[in-house]
Amino acid sequence: MVFAHGYGCDQNMWRFVAPRFADRYRVVLFDHIGAGNSDLDAYDIARYGSLSGYADDVVELCEALELSDVVFVGHSVSATIGILAAERAPQLFSSLILVGPSPRYIDDGGYVGGFSREDIEELLASVDSNYLGWSSAIAPVIMGQPDQPELAKELEESFCRTDPDIARRFARVTFLSDNRADLPRVKTRSLVLQCTDDVIAPVAVGEYVRDHMPNATMTLLDATGHCPHLSAPEETVDAIERFLQSAAAPA
């Protein structure tokens, strides 16, 4: 069972959910490049200039760990990354759990993604303004010059830390991408986990994903917001359990 965190966070966000599966599954947690404890030197502007570079990482990770029958749990942009990975290497995956997926964030004709291009530019600006203080104070620690141990400790204990420059590029790649055309190509058994009131991925978008993937069902959670695995871990675990059990049961 591979858990992939979404934009803006790191693998810590699975802390209430992933351990619940550890008795039956080999649980794999990882940080996308630029987040958490990832190796920033491995960042390559061209490779990570589109989501397919991130999907390649997932495929390579599964292959390197010699995983098979993978249950891939992806939040937000990582739901899309999982869809791309399953499109590339369908033999690796037994099912996809898509938490708050959105194949396209920007409205397009009749399609309602929930955001305009200007909104996304505004997001990039807010990423910038929040990293203004970071880049000078925390960057030296990241670069391995811990002459201020208290800063290093703070960093150690902080969650969702992200390299500012990579965060900016990842935001662009995430929120400007359009992966609607990939949905029909992925035949892997999939579950859309949709929150009731999600400003990032509205219910209509979850339904769109369900309707355009050949083998997908959707569970509408009572949870609100974009991170049910944090705000409603019980409900999230139950929904995943039910889906996995229904797969195990004879048809």
Binding site: S126, C160, H226, C227
Partner: protein, 396 residues
């Protein structure tokens, strides 16, 4: 202190002590919000209302904190801020823009804590909101200046590269009856304009000139002198058969120009006479040309003064004859002064040893020397390296 003043102070203290908790909350010098863990606003103070223009009833039970943000801020809130707050219990100095009642945007800084009950369930989020309009404007100016500085640095680097390309002859000309090989490698990562230059050009029928030089320093001013030196020598050498005369003209030009730079240079004039080449050579403060003949390496001529320092220069010309298989090598001090990581110099000895055993065409010799000098420095060139080799082909 008079009695009256004492009364006044007592009055202030009394007024402060009378400040009940409600007043402290309502009129605190920052906005306060209390929300449920999913963000629904359940309590708000007067300062927040006056900052944003909302009426209390607009907010309580009707809005979530995220609803008051701009669209971009909402994404940031949902993807980073809310998860971080949930896991960490606190968030500090987060920049948002609030959309006020009349649609304006108010830049704020936000601190928040998530309170949990005794069984660790989240109960309430308390948020303090500070007006950050001035600070945000200043930050944006800084950001703008930072981007501008990065942009102009990128341009300067690109300009330096372009300039460098124009100062190095792109291709070695095809000289009938003579092989020419040339190598150039700027110091470091190549982003700075180096001071080394060379030039190979025709002065007449079977009459060629090779120039090599090294301007002290680096950067834009050195580049100006490099360009001046190169074009002055080209013009002077075409009109003057004497290399020493060409170097004197360069000295005059540098003395006249308003530059505080000097340079070293060597000029070789090569004239074809039947099967061999007659060479006259002059070096001005520059490493002397090396003649490689039958595995023997010998210096050619005597070193004269630098150019660009004194009005009068002492220069001496030497002539020699190049026969089949002989090679003449000119180079800059980036070769001999190359340093290994243990600080050892490449030096004349190693240069001579390398040339003595080098085989093949002029291009092969130049390439072999460059490779050896770079390997010696573990591929990190501390100074520019320029090498030009002229060789008379073996008789057929």
């Amino acid at each position: 202190m008079t009695t009256g003043d004492g009364d006044l102070v007592d009055g202030f203290i009394e007024a402060l002590l009378d400040d009940d908790a409600e007043t402290l909350y309502e009129r605190a010098p920052c906005g306060y919000l209390s929300t449920t863990p999913d963000g629904s606003i359940i309590k708000v103070n007067g300062t927040f209302l006056s900052l944003t223009g909302y009426a209390r009833e607009d907010l309580l039970g009707r809005k979530r904190f995220v609803d008051l943000l701009t669209a971009g801020g909402r994404i940031y809130h949902e993807t980073h801020y809310a998860p971080m707050l949930r896991m960490q219990g606190v968030a500090r100095e987060i920049a948002f823009e609030l959309v006020t009642d009349n649609g304006d945007r108010l830049p704020v800084l936000v601190n928040a804590v998530l309170e949990r009950d005794s069984s660790d369930n989240p109960v309430v989020i308390r948020t303090a909101v500070f007006d950050a309009s001035q600070r945000r404007r200043y930050e944006q100016e800084l950001l703008h200046e930072k981007l501008r500085a990065e942009d102009s640095e990128a341009r300067a680097t690109a300009l330096a590269r372009t300039l460098q390309q124009t100062l190095i002859p792109p291709l070695v000309p095809d000289v009938p009856g003579l092989e020419i090989g040339a190598e150039y490698r700027p110091a470091g990562d190549g982003s700075e304009v180096g001071g080394d230059f060379y030039d190979i050009f025709q002065a007449g029928d079977d009459d060629w000139v090779i120039v090599i030089g090294d301007v002290c320093g680096k950067g834009a001013e050195a580049a100006v002198v490099t360009a001046l030196a190169r074009y002055t020598l080209r013009a002077a050498a075409v009109q003057n058969p004497s290399p020493a005369r060409a170097l004197r003209l360069l000295n005059d030009a540098l003395r006249r120009a308003d530059v505080d730079r000097f340079c070293t240079a060597a000029v070789l004039r090569l004239r074809r006479v039947n099967a061999h080449w007659q060479v006259s050579s002059c070096a001005a403060g520059h490493p002397l040309p090396l003649l490689v003949s039958d595995g023997q390496v010998t210096e050619v001529g005597h070193s004269g003064s630098l150019v660009g320092v004194m009005d009068e220069v002492e220069l001496e010309e030497t002539t020699l004859s190049l026969d089949a298989g002989d090679a003449l090598v000119v180079y800059t001090d980036g070769v001999t002064e190359a340093r290994a990581p243990d600080d050892a110099f490449y030096g004349d000895g190693r240069l001579r040893d390398t040339l003595a055993v080098a085989r093949g065409t002029a291009a092969d010799i130049a390439e072999a020397l460059r490779a050896d000098v770079l390997a010696f420095q573990h591929d990190v060139a501390r100074d520019d390296i320029a090498i030009v080799v002229a060789r008379v082909p073996n008789a057929v």
